[in-house]
Amino acid sequence: MTYIAKPRLHHPSLACNALGYTRRDYEGRVSTLCAGCGHDSISAAIVRACWELAIEPHRVAKLSGIGCSSKTPDYFLSPSHGFNTVHGRMPSVLTGANLANRELLYLGVSGDGDSASIGIGQFVHAIRRGVNMVYIVENNGVYGLTKGQFSATADAGSVSKKGVVNTDAPLDLVGLALQLGASFVGRSFSGDKEQLVPLIKGAIAHRGAAILDVLSPCVTFNNHAGSTKSYDYVREHNDSINRLDFIEPRAEITVDYAPGELIEVTQHDGSLLRLRKLDAAYDPSDRVAAMNYLHERQAAGEIVTGLLYVDEGAQDLHAHLKTVATPLNTLDTAALCPGAAALDRINAALR
């Protein structure tokens, strides 16, 4: 950690977004994580994405569980709402908050321990239900806060800092998310902001469960030879399938590509996702093909990154439940308690 606060002074050319905020206005307190932690880069990417989208910070709710990753909401978006839940229970609290007020942007930040072990039951059901959220897993394959034991996402055969070989099969959060019906699924790397920032922006604009699995090396316990989640290993085995350009609604499109190089996806809010194909055969709108490709590359020892799957017609939990458009927390007593006559009608309908 660092003892001094980041100085307020900034570069003379620092720009303001449409709301008049600078990127620095989206920052949080100085990180207390280890120097060089991948999580800090992800925080910086979230800051950049929110600034570029001119998101009002007070319309964001940051939710997290327990762990190194779950500490990070303190280090970005200081003016936003925040909730640090019990270990692994972030998805449930997020779901509840989302039901109560559908108008906030829900940003769930979790780690491989919080989501893939203690909280896996919560993780899967939030995805199944299609909660409208951005769920970022900061995945480093170890329990950094308790001195570096393997987590559930550590690859079988990878070696711990002390030299122990992991024999357990890994849990693949991206594979799970695809299987469980997540409508926006991406994987990225903390050391590649050019890929990560547009993915976060696309996920924010997406309506439905958007899951980002971000490999985020633990410099203290999992950045050695033999690790499969180190800076060097991820860089060497990164199979980036596409590059995402996030284009805001009404923004002028100026860059032209030859046909076949691009896939365009229009999201609910009118924003456009332009995918520059790095792998010509990959189709991110085909869930089954995506799952097959992932397994195939994984078997070959590659880490597939990019926007793996997006469903442009996705619906969220509120659509499934047919809730009113007004946030529930703003309904008045008359709307919430329509009286004995209304109750009688409902009961009669159920007889």
Binding site: T2, I4, P7, L9, P12, C37, G191, K193, V219, N223
Partner: protein, 607 residues
């Protein structure tokens, strides 16, 4: 771009903008830290070594360091008026609050080295030569027309800006080194001086002739028209103690500012400065203009003097043509506005429109070549030697009027040349500076300097009550910072000498430094040509005066590029670096002075 060679001291020296801008390359951040630590004597000695007159310069310096100060580039963005650190006034604090430093100054040489050096004039450049050479064993004689040493500093800078005690103290330190001072002797003939057999002669006689204005009425009203620097000297010597009620000062330099403020104290009630050029182009330092206006002296610009108006030998006023400033092909022109001439009534006029060199005492047939056009001696810019190798020039005498700190810088270089010359070495083969680059790391996040950047705006120097100070020539106007204010102002210094040093072989490209840098100075990208590279950094590097620091390729083949322009030297890049690829190292540079690198002095053999 090629990787930056940080073994070349020029790269990091340039990052220390203040030190780079100072003609004597005073290690500014070093002494500001010492002031913050309350070590005033040490701060004074760091100054004394580099610029010889900390107490005098702390009140009168032209401060080229301050416009260069990085602080004024990083504060701009905060929306406030950009203000550099008050470097000059902090220097004065070191002089004001120090203890007795005499025990720490060099001692007179115990052994004469057999060489005799004469200095003409006892101004800052000559005294610097004397200070550098005397402790090495040279017998130095300083000739001065006035009775006391100091030159311009003593006779022309008014006492309300520079108390005489400060001059006595700092010139005294030099004469105490065993320098022979011959006061009251004006050198009338260079030929005669050459005949006295000195091994080297240094000429630091200044630019003693004030320019006059030969306008209609000048001779008729001569009794009430004075050349500025002569008038200031007359005030110093007590020949002048009164001035008329209405005074016009002509000219826009610092001498004009000294004249008008002195006139205000000697009975001038309606004192104004009238200048040909526009206000912004005036030669006077902005703070000197402010000080004059603060004392109720208006500055009227764009008025070209046309005539002195007189009635029966008595000056009654002056007429001026009104002009406007225009630029044609980058050259300034004063174009008449066509308005009728303006008349300003006055009782006395002080002409401060510039100074000239004058060497009537140097015969032109003794081997010292003068430029035919400028009638200035031909002087080597590097060695300060004239065409007679053992005759050197410095200060205003060398290249025309400049200021004290330039005179000191010349003095150092001339002394070094003399030492090399008389040691039988080549004066053009000069020893390089002494450079240190030392890690400031004390613990995991501890540095041996205060890296927490202060957000305070510049602190004002307290002033004496104007009602009192305007009645006295002697009462110093500026009171100087006290210890508490000095500490606060010192905290504004960004410690630009504590350098960010990058080791490409240690970097794992985690981006931690990029993310934490408050100024967006650091980028990892593929290499390119400088002009193009400058446009695609985390923040564009538009200030081409400031260098880029480029590393050798890191593992992914990219390079680290750091824009040195607005770095706060806050150490956060190094604190967030997991591998120690970034380190904060203090860069300390001292110019070679006389005695450094001369085999005869034995220092090289010892090293």
């Amino acid at each position: 771009m090629q990787p930056t060679d940080i073994r070349n001291p020029a790269h990091f020296h340039k990052v220390v903008d203040c030190q780079w801008a100072c003609p004597a390359h005073t290690p500014v951040p070093e002494y500001i830290r010492l002031i913050a630590a309350g070590r005033y004597s040490d701060a004074y000695l760091v100054n004394w070594k580099a610029n010889v007159f900390p107490g005098i310069l702390g009140r009168t310096c032209d401060r080229p360091c301050e416009p260069a100060c990085r602080r004024s580039r990083v504060e701009e963005s905060a929306g406030n008026k950009p203000e550099p650190v008050a470097i000059c006034r902090l220097k004065r604090v070191a002089a004001d609050l120090k203890d007795d430093v005499r025990a720490h100054l060099p001692k007179p040489a115990t052994k004469w080295n057999g060489m005799r050096v004469a200095c003409v004039g006892a101004g800052p450049s000559s005294l610097t030569v004397a200070r550098d050479l005397a402790p090495l064993g040279y017998r130095v004689t300083v000739f001065e027309a006035d009775a006391k040493p100091g030159g311009f500093m003593r006779t022309q800078v008014p006492r309300f800006r520079l108390p005489e005690a400060v001059i006595d103290e700092e010139t005294g330190y030099i004469l105490d080194l065993g320098v022979e001072f011959v006061g009251g002797r004006r050198i009338e003939s260079m030929r005669a001086l050459l005949g006295e057999g000195y091994d080297a002669i240094f000429i630091g006689s200044g630019a003693p002739r004030g320019r006059d204005l030969d306008l209609p009425g000048r001779h008729q009203a001569a009794a009430h028209i004075h050349v500025g620097i002569d008038w200031l000297a007359s005030v110093y010597f007590g020949h002048v103690s009164r001035v008329g009620k209405r005074v016009i000062v002509l000219g826009g330099g610092n001498t004009a500012m000294d004249c008008c403020r002195s006139a205000r104290r000697l009975g001038g009630e309606d004192v104004k400065v009238i200048v040909r050029s526009g206000f912004d182009e005036m030669k006077a330092s902005p703070w000197e203009k402010e000080d004059a206006m603060h004392e109720g002296i208006p500055i009227l610009d764009c008025r070209v003097p046309k005539a002195f108006l007189h009635e029966g030998g008595r000056l009654v006023g002056m007429s001026f043509e009104k002009v406007r400033v225009e630029y044609l092909d980058g050259r300034r022109r004063l174009v008449p506005t066509g308005e009728p001439d303006e008349v300003h009534a006055c009782d006395e006029v002080l002409v401060a429109v510039g100074q000239e060199n004058a060497f009537p005492w140097i015969e032109r047939d003794i081997g010292i070549v003068f430029d035919a056009k400028s009638d200035m001696p031909v002087v080597d810019k590097l060695t300060l030697q004239s065409t007679l190798p053992h005759v050197l020039f410095g200060g205003d005498a060398a290249f025309g009027p400049k200021n004290i700190i330039w005179a000191v810088a010349h003095g150092h270089e001339a002394a070094l040349s003399i030492d090399l010359l008389l040691g039988g070495a080549d004066t053009r083969d000069r020893p390089g500076p002494a450079v240190e680059l030392i890690s400031q790391k004390m613990g995991i996040h501890e540095w041996s300097y205060d890296n927490d950047v202060s957000n305070d705006a510049r602190y004002k120097v307290p002033w004496a009550d104007p009602a009192k100070s305007l009645t006295s020539m002697k009462l110093e106007v500026e009171l100087g910072y006290d210890a508490e204010l000095a500490w606060k102002e010192a905290q504004r210094c960004l410690n630009c000498d504590v350098q960010t040093v990058f080791s490409d072989n240690l970097c794992i490209e985690c981006d931690a430094c990029v993310d934490i840098c408050p100024m967006d100075c650091i980028t990892f990208t593929h290499n390119g040509e400088e002009a193009e590279l400058r446009t695609r950094l985390s923040a564009p590097a538009l200030n081409v005066e400031q260098a880029l620091y480029v590393s050798a390729p890191v593992k992914t083949g990219r390079v680290m590029v750091k824009d040195e322009d607005v770095c706060l030297h806050c150490s956060l890049c190094a604190e967030r670096c997991p591998t120690g690829a970034w380190d904060m190292r203090k860069f300390f540079l001292e110019l070679a002075h006389a005695g450094d690198g001369n085999p005869r002095d034995g220092k090289q053999e010892a090293a």
